[in-house]
């Protein structure tokens, strides 16, 4: 993996696409991260795709409830990869209740299809523009979002909300 500098083609591309938006770049042990406002995330991702980030490695979310120093509730993380020169970039955006809507990355990378559905399944973040937006893992009747920090580990009784078959009935 090559070390990319913060004033690389990606920074130029994203600043050209979003000239008046305050972007925050950070670096940790050679890994570069950029924080983009949620309203501009589609533009930023499109610019990065055109700059060479042709693979979406992962798309996930973090619930920052009671996280030390956190100011926002949810963080959506995009891990991007340039497959021609192995550049990697982490794109983060922040969301707060009650507006948990973000444009879908499915038109940019088709790999976002199930990843966004999983994020919705576990965190309840709605990706607008997704072609088949529904729960991925949990049953459709499930009403909670279990990876949120305010959801109890043992659930709210969903696991035992089933009919009981007795010996006499079966």
């Amino acid at each position: 993996m090559t070390q990319i500098s913060s004033d690389s083609v990606y920074k130029q591309a994203i600043e050209k696409a979003l000239p008046s938006v305050a972007l925050r770049w950070s670096e940790f042990r050679g890994q570069h991260r950029i924080d983009v406002p949620a309203a501009n995330i589609a533009t930023a991702l499109t610019a990065l795709k055109e700059a060479g980030m042709d693979q979406l490695c992962d798309l996930t979310a973090v619930d920052l409830l009671e996280y030390p120093g956190a100011t926002d509730r949810f963080e959506v993380v995009y891990l991007l990869l340039n497959t021609s020169n192995s550049d990697r970039l982490t794109v983060r955006t922040y969301l707060n209740e009650p507006n948990l809507q973000i444009p879908s990355a499915h038109p940019i990378w088709i790999a976002a299809d199930w990843l966004e559905r999983e994020v919705y399944d576990m965190y309840g973040i709605v990706f607008t523009g997704h072609p088949n937006f529904k729960r991925l893992l949990l049953p459709d009747a499930f009403e909670s979002f279990p990876l949120r920090k305010d959801y109890p580990v043992k659930g709210r009784g969903e696991r035992h909300n089933f009919p009981i078959i007795t010996r006499a009935e079966s």
């Binding site: 659930g155 709210r156 969903e158 696991r159 089933f162 009919p163 078959i165 010996r167 079966s170």
Partner: protein, 156 residues
């Protein structure tokens, strides 16, 4: 798998026939944790099995959920389907499963299924009456035929 393999051969104890459709089964072994998404499937499998049927809950996870005390894992399948024998252990030894099947055989001998209605009928004699050998001897004695005295023969 090891229970049915060569080292602990389950078929020595009269449980050789494995069927992979519930419609031919009379014993279901639930061998692991069941998440809540699979409970309707498990119940459907149980309802598809013909009577008489029994269920073994194998391992700590199937009996109680084990260490997986989360929103998705059912804390014991006996909450939703009837269970006859519980096998503890994480994982259980093959000997434990064999013992569970032998216990189940004892249970079936004693009680049959839930109310033993299948086995109550078998206690009553049905069909033609058994031939009484003593009656034949009495008939021959009445007719003056003498029976041959039985000689002790250690070989035959």
């Amino acid at each position: 798998m090891s229970t049915a393999a060569s080292r602990h051969d389950l078929s020595r104890f009269g449980s050789e026939v494995m069927r992979f459709t519930p419609r031919q089964c009379d014993l279901m072994i639930v061998a692991g944790r069941v998440v809540m998404k699979m409970i309707p499937v498990l119940q459907r499998i149980w309802m598809q099995m013909p009577e008489p049927k029994w269920c073994i809950s194998m391992g700590a996870c199937a009996c109680s959920g084990g260490v997986f005390d989360t929103y998705a894992v059912v804390q014991g399948i006996d909450r939703f389907i009837p269970v006859d024998v519980y096998v503890p252990g994480c994982p259980p030894r093959p000997e434990q499963l064999i013992r569970a099947i032998m216990d189940l055989q004892d249970k079936i001998k004693k009680t049959g299924t839930y109310n033993a209605r299948e086995f109550q009928l078998r206690i009553l004699p049905d069909g033609p009456k058994r031939f009484d050998e003593d009656e034949l001897i009495r008939i021959r004695e009445r007719n003056g035929l003498k029976l041959e005295e039985h000689k002790y023969d250690p070989i035959h």
